[in-house]
């Protein structure tokens, strides 16, 4: 299992478009992927789940990857967060 903490960097926060990209990225991998915000755990491969997260600029999220390709999945998805969803 791989656990990472990420910060939302872009001004608009985790809005619908990046939510869709995260799900698309995650579905390329076999590993399970969960996003945790405070007490809320959502399946990172479910768009409607990711859309329930209210994460504005500056908020911190925990990402959990579990499965055979967890390292690769973590690398690619954490990178996308760190690029501020390509909106910086």
């Amino acid at each position: 299992m791989v656990e990472k903490e990420v910060t939302i960097l872009n001004r608009a926060g985790l809005h619908t478009r990046p939510a869709a990209t995260i799900v698309k990225l995650a579905s390329k991998f076999k590993s399970d992927f969960y996003i945790i915000q405070d007490n809320l755990v959502v399946n990172g491969k479910s768009i409607i789940g990711v859309m329930t997260l209210c994460a504005e600029q500056g908020s911190k999220l925990k990402l959990k990857f579990e499965g055979e390709d967890e390292e690769e999945a973590a690398k690619e998805i954490v990178e996308y967060f760190n690029r501020g969803f390509d909106e910086l």
């Binding site: 001004r11 926060g13 809005h15 619908t16 478009r17 939510a19 869709a20 799900v23 698309k24 809320l40 399946n43 491969k45 479910s46 768009i47 409607i48 789940g49 859309m51 329930t52 209210c54 504005e56 600029q57 500056g58």
Partner: protein, 589 residues
């Protein structure tokens, strides 16, 4: 009821006030868009297979409908907006969600529509529980997807086509409705629900269709085919206008069309030099009635709103409520673009305080931030009003005539006090609101590095900077010739500002008259200024010029000007450059 009867009973000029969601003026007939209410009751189904098939059919049908919306959006608008609908399409492919719905049918023997309702609502309720307006917006979008599936389970259709040009009036318009309506000739959108940040408002702005939202009960107040005026600048609906009001709006429309024609061709072209260097053009605003023109000129925000004009109009300081009204007006109309509000810049040549003590040197006296720091209650009220107006997160605040770091620290203390008062009173504001200063006194230029700790941006005011740098009163006719806009020292200090802030996060813009001077623009770009705040009526001309020049050549021009020994040399250089660019411009036409 036929419309003549209504006409006779109607009062003249009934006005409804809403939120101006997309700019423009329109006079036209009403088309009321009613959506059939969908009702779902918890029900047990005897035929699980039938329900699963109905679900599958509805999902496929909904996907087909949404693909149509995506295609239409791609055709009319940009990638970013298409992304919203693509995400909606992904919801229909969300395996996690779909298997939850299927299990609900299998295990609880619910009907397909009830299973969809129950599973979607878990998420919708979570979104609605959040206080964030964007989450409520998202909940509405997901609700629209849910209703689409349920409608398709029930095998119903919604009508979104009509023949004549109309103003669409609805209780609620979803983004998908908004897009689908554009297959007709829509003059304007009016809705009861929605705010400035709703996806529908964003779409209407992108489609250039005027829209007014948030008028409670409007769909019941209006009747099909009656003529109304939609004022997308003020957020007004005028029903049954009389001759005078109609004439007034005909003039407004005529003026607007003429100016818009000039602006339109340029507005949607990105403002870049030939070698692809992006320059941001913002507008300077003195009075609120300049807003429509500033918006249609293609300004990407307001670089300077001179709030002291409010003071001059009223003759005294405004109350918090009066200020909030003005600032919100700006924030709403320019949303999502940024609006920079400069706190009152009084004193100098702009004094009208009753017990004003006559100064022998008012320009070196009680003015700008000095005056405000001596009236902390006035400054705090203004800060509070600016903060209260910042909920759309597109307002930033700037203080004038700063000469030392101490002044910044003192002003920020008052700013923090204002924030704390609002927090205690539970009044929301943008916690990340940006704070900036005017750079118009030479002393602060040489303290900028230290100032970066306290500020997010600077705006260079060249008029005062020139007068303080050259020790020339620009209002004094005797020495006016010494006021040199292109004095070598001014060009050098402009370069110094860029150097001082190099590699810091502080954003630099320039808002003085020099930025609105066509000949100076290439020089400013060459010196490193990428954000120019200019007069709205010159903005299209400035943009045309920028599209025709190269950053590499602007840099060379700047280098030459930095080496020049007197104003004449510089004027000659910028003139030559300008005439050359203009020549190229003519050729390209």
């Amino acid at each position: 009821m036929n419309s003549n009867v209504i006409e006779n009973n109607r009062q003249k000029n009934i006005v409804f006030k809403g939120i101006p969601a997309a700019p423009g003026y329109v006079i036209g007939p009403v088309y009321i868009f009613h959506k059939e209410q969908i009702e779902i009751f918890p029900s047990v189904s005897l035929n699980i297979e039938y329900e699963l098939n109905a679900l599958e059919f509805a999902i496929q049908r909904s996907k087909k409908e949404l693909r149509k919306v995506v295609d239409l959006t791609k055709e009319k608008l940009d990638e970013k907006i298409t992304g919203i609908f693509e995400a909606h399409l992904l919801v229909l492919e969300d395996e996690h969600l779909l298997s939850a719905i299927q299990n609900n049918i299998k295990n609880q023997r619910h009907s397909a529509e009830y299973a969809v309702e129950a599973e979607f609502n878990q998420y919708i309720n979570l979104m609605r529980n959040s206080n964030d307006p964007s989450m409520i917006e998202r909940a509405n979008d997901v609700e629209d997807i849910k209703l689409r599936i349920i409608r398709n389970i029930q095998r119903k259709r919604w009508e979104s086509k009509f023949k004549q040009s109309v103003i669409v009036v609805a209780k609620n318009l979803t983004p998908a409705d908004t897009i689908l309506f554009t297959r007709n000739d829509v003059l304007a959108f009016v809705s009861e629900m929605g705010g400035l940040t709703s996806h529908t408002a964003i779409l209407a702005r992108a489609l250039n269709i005027p829209a007014v939202v948030g008028i409670h009960g409007i769909s019941k107040e209006l009747h099909n085919d009656e003529m109304i005026i939609v004022d997308g600048f003020e957020g007004l609906i005028i029903v049954n206008p009389d001759e005078t009001v109609l004439d007034e709006y005909q003039v407004k429309i005529q003026n607007y069309i003429e100016r818009k024609k000039k602006y339109d061709e340029l507005r949607n072209i990105p403002c870049k030099t030939k070698d692809n260097h992006k320059v941001v053009l913002l507008a300077n605003i003195d009075f609120l009635d300049e807003i429509p023109f500033a918006i249609s000129s293609g300004a990407e925000g307001v670089g300077l709103y001179r709030s002291e004009n409010l003071f001059f109009q009223k003759g005294t300081f405004l109350t918090e409520t009066e200020q909030v009204e003005a600032y919100l007006n700006l924030a709403e109309k320019f949303y999502p673009h940024i609006v920079t509000i400069r706190t009152y810049d009084l004193g100098g040549d702009k004094v009208i305080i009753d017990d004003y003590y006559e100064e022998s040197n008012p320009f070196l006296g009680w003015r700008g931030i000095r005056l405000l720091l001596d009236m902390p209650e006035v400054l705090k009220t203004q800060f509070r009003a600016i903060l209260i107006s910042s909920t759309y997160k597109n307002i930033r605040v700037m203080i004038p005539m700063v000469s030392s770091i101490d002044e910044i620290i003192k002003a920020k203390e008052i700013f923090e006090e204002a924030k704390n008062e609002l927090r205690l009173a539970n009044i929301k504001f943008d916690e990340k609101i940006k704070f900036g200063i005017m750079v118009e006194i030479p002393s602060i230029v040489y303290c900028l590095k230290e100032a970066t700790k306290y500020i997010d941006f600077v705006s260079v005011g060249t008029n005062d900077l020139t007068q303080y740098l050259l020790a020339v009163d620009r209002g004094n006719e005797r020495v006016f010739y010494s006021y040199q806009e292109f004095h070598p020292a001014l060009i050098r200090i402009l370069r110094q500002i860029i150097k001082e802030l190099y590699k810091t996060k502080v954003e630099i813009s320039i808002c003085g008259e020099i930025a609105s001077n066509l000949m100076a623009v290439p020089l400013l770009i060459g010196l490193g200024y990428n954000i120019l705040s200019v007069s709205e009526y010159l903005l299209p001309e400035i943009k045309k010029l920028i599209l025709n020049i190269r950053l590499s050549e602007c840099k060379k021009l700047a280098l030459k000007c930095l080496r020049a020994t007197n104003q004449n040399e510089i004027v000659k250089l910028v003139n030559e450059f300008y005439n050359k660019s203009k020549g190229e411009n003519n050729e390209s036409i």
